[in-house]
Amino acid sequence: MHESKSSGAQNIALALGNNLSRRSFLKILMMTGAAAALPGTGLLRSFSQEGPVFGRATFAGPGAYQTFRNACPRNCYDTCGIVSYVKDGVLEFVEGEPTSTYTNGGLCVKGYAYPRTVYSPDRIKYPMRQVGRGSGNWERISWEEALDAISGKILEIKEKDGSLLGMALTKYSGNFGITHYGVEGMLSSLGYTTRFVGTPCWPAGIDAQNYDMGNMWCNDPEDMAQSKYIIVWGANPAYCSVHSLKYIYEAKKRGAKVVVIDPVLTQTAVKGDEYWQIKPGADGALALAMSRHLIDQGLVSREWVAANGLGYDEYEAYIKANVTVEWGAEQAGLPVDVVKRVAEEFAAADPATIWIGYGMQRHVNGGVNVRAIDALVAMTGNVGKPGGGARYGHLFTWGFNYNAMVQAAPEGSVGYTGATGPKGEFDTGQGADAAATYTDRTFNINKIGQEILDAQDPPVRLLWIANKNVVSQDFDKNKIVKAFEKVEMIVAVDLFFNPTVEQADIVLPTVTPFEDWTVNVSYWHYWLHLNEQAIKPLFETKSDIEIASALSAVLNAKQPGSCTFPQNIDAKEMMIKEFNDGIYQLFGITSWEDLRKGAAKAKLPSSASWSDLKFATPSGKYEFKSEIAQTNGHTALPEYKAGREAYAPLRLLTPHAKHGLHSQFQNLDWMHDLNPEPLVYVHPRTAGAKGIVDGDTVRVFNPTGEIRLKAQLTNNVPADTLLMYEAWFGAKNGFNVNLLVDDVSSDMGAYKTGSPGVAIHDQFADIEKVAA
């Protein structure tokens, strides 16, 4: 022990960690009157003054851990169950939940790093106020001071505008725990406000599957093991869903063929039997070409489309009149014979499945491309079959009460009177009051900069940001920062000081999953995980609903009746209130407490979605032709739609990283060890033409902005493409891919999520060498 030298100090060092020595030491202090001589009233207090629990008299020995059940809520396919090991009130390490066959006892590299999040010295610890936005001059304030300032602003806005539409919320997926919908609940409990609605993630594909099948609903990923043929199309589970890989491996072991289609040679691609480097955005053309070949070869499942399809004949007629295999293969940049062969193999395998990734729908034609792939799966009779399916995602297990979310507006609240749609993909319509005269005002979540710049009557005066690092993750960073100048007060609730907090007036410190009570489900697998409070919240951190509750108390003290959010809540009770009989029945449990023993899986009639082949479309059939799509301004059939025209020489892709999930995790020390700095990946031929060698500092630029970083040469990306993984690297690094990504919309998303998605992968840029 390098801290101590003298023999007296060594006595102490030896006694530390030994319960017996420690107790006898204290006993001697007490007997000799030395203990009584200690003031005991400084920052540290004597046990006797504070009651028996205080001070914890014993220390757990090695291996003496308490365990808790937690869940990773960070917007991931895998939404893992976690077992947390706590000793003396400290989270020492985490393991994967062993009772879930999906998590299967293991976590990903990010999950294992969770204690580094909890105990990072850089966590936001106290409510703080910035004196001069962006100045870096912060003063620590109490929760009372913070809530006084915020509530004062809320009442001022109501007074000035006659409504609260000047208060806006942008919130997304930083924590998908069900009680975190209490953020939306907090806004509802204040009155009618402005909501940034939609999702940056997957909206085009959600709409596509709704047009085709009436809902987004995927097979259980665990049944991929039964597939005879798997096409992973635009997904990279080796980075983003590691727990799904074991089912793909199992299928391979049983003889299945795995084809990976991706513009980038990903770690998933190299694990497939076959890899196709498709041109980005040509997915629809390729699916149409494969469909044409099936038609030509008589490989369409005539029985299936006749019994279960609507408008198939028209779709076939469209293809015959407009699509050739040669055309589609050329669009996709693939050899004709290979396209034909895989189409034949896919049709012959039973069951065969396609995993439709979220990346491939982040295009101006992304939604219609998903529809064409859905149709390919349907034409081969693979929809509704275990081991088959057009797998995209599901919300089948999300039927909670949304008790924290559903809050009534205070009496007499005035709001918006125009037309409105769903507020995001999780909007179940619960709590909507048909008789209400007013609603919230809705803005496109994916165009936050433009919406704030354009907002009038009233403008956005107060912006509440939770579960979202807007300035890192939303599109066109420079525009967002400019728009924020218009906002009178910005409140950010976060774990770390990120570029969003940098632009805030007040920051409120929030909790990690381990300091919180909630419940989690996935949009991919079918497991349900309890999230227990394993440790006390560090410093003065509070959960979203605790913040809402505290704000409600302050507002009601200032102006009784001004906020309906329950005051003095208990976080655990709020978690319990999210459960209902439907959830209990679906998961075969009698109480939420059953989940303390382990995870529960939904009792599914079949591992296949749509196994009864009764679709949720207006016709009850699989709709190759969708009238709703047509009404919403799309083609009724999944017809070819061209991609976005290039506006710079090279395509820019900014997909998900291995060591981070959006702006989370990559800022941690362990991730820095593995992945110390952002890179732009460039094909050697492209680099050669520009005089760039490996490790050079380069400037990547387009009309939206520019980034300077190091280049890495690789054959894994096409020659006409630049690749940078999105991430926030922490306070010392200004890297942000959204300096280059504009906010142009994808084709679909507004129908089911309230706003269209963003054409994240329809971006272009140029590159040049600069001095390091």
Binding site: E3, S4, K5, S6, S7, G8, A9, N11, I12, A13, L16, G17, R22, F25, L26, I28, L29, A34, A37, L38, G40, G42, L43, L44, R45, S46, F47, S48, E50, G55, R56, A57, F59, V90, P115, R116, Y119, S120, P121, D122, I124, K125, Y126, M128, V131, G136, N137, W138, E139, R140, I141, S142, F497, I535, K536, L538, F539, E540, A731, K732
Partner: protein, 181 residues
């Protein structure tokens, strides 16, 4: 010795201050002990620098937690060193009211323990307390210099905080470990 005893208390309260007023109060305590400290004109500026160094919300320039200096590469809060100092407090019959929320190895808490031991030793002769004092001083000397080094190297650091940190280094240097009788 007695002239220094209140200083440890004021150092503790300085590093535990929540706002400019508390900083000023602790600072005035230090100055009244005779510490040669500069005159402060704007306490708000001191608080901005104090928060950049020790509080946040930005990544801390000089985190005031022993585990970040004593636990090698394991740079996290609530590390092995935190557990050891909590056990020392327990041996003394003391505990932090912020246990599990503010790490027990916050500089202010360690200094508070030292202050309490010295208060007791002024009235009772206890070899056990002297051992504890030796241990604590040895421990503080093992990490405070690195901590002070980070303060001195921090960009935009307010000179008043550097002066207090230097005074703390001197105070810890002057406190002679007492041999066990």
């Amino acid at each position: 010795m007695t002239a220094q005893t209140p200083s440890i208390l004021h150092f503790s309260r300085f590093f535990f201050a929540a706002n400019a007023a508390e900083l000023q109060s602790a600072y005035e305590g230090l100055a009244s002990d005779g510490a040669p400290l500069p005159v402060v004109t704007d306490w708000r500026e001191v608080a901005f620098s104090f928060n950049r160094l020790f509080v946040g919300p930005r990544a801390l320039q000089a985190p005031p937690y022993a585990s970040l200096y004593l636990d090698g590469d394991d740079t996290r809060l609530m590390g092995a060193s935190t557990s050891r100092i909590r056990q020392l407090y327990a041996m003394l019959g003391l505990a932090s009211p912020w246990q599990d929320r503010i790490p027990d190895d916050h500089l202010a808490l360690e200094l508070d323990a030292l202050w309490q031991i010295e208060q007791a030793l002024a009235t009772v002769a206890s070899p056990q307390l002297q051992d504890a004092r030796d241990y604590l001083i040895g421990r503080l000397r093992a990490w405070v210099p690195a901590f002070v080094g980070r303060i001195q190297a921090a960009p935009q650091v307010h000179p008043v905080i550097v002066a207090v940190a230097d005074a703390l280094t001197r105070a810890l240097g002057r406190v002679d470990p007492i041999a066990v009788c």
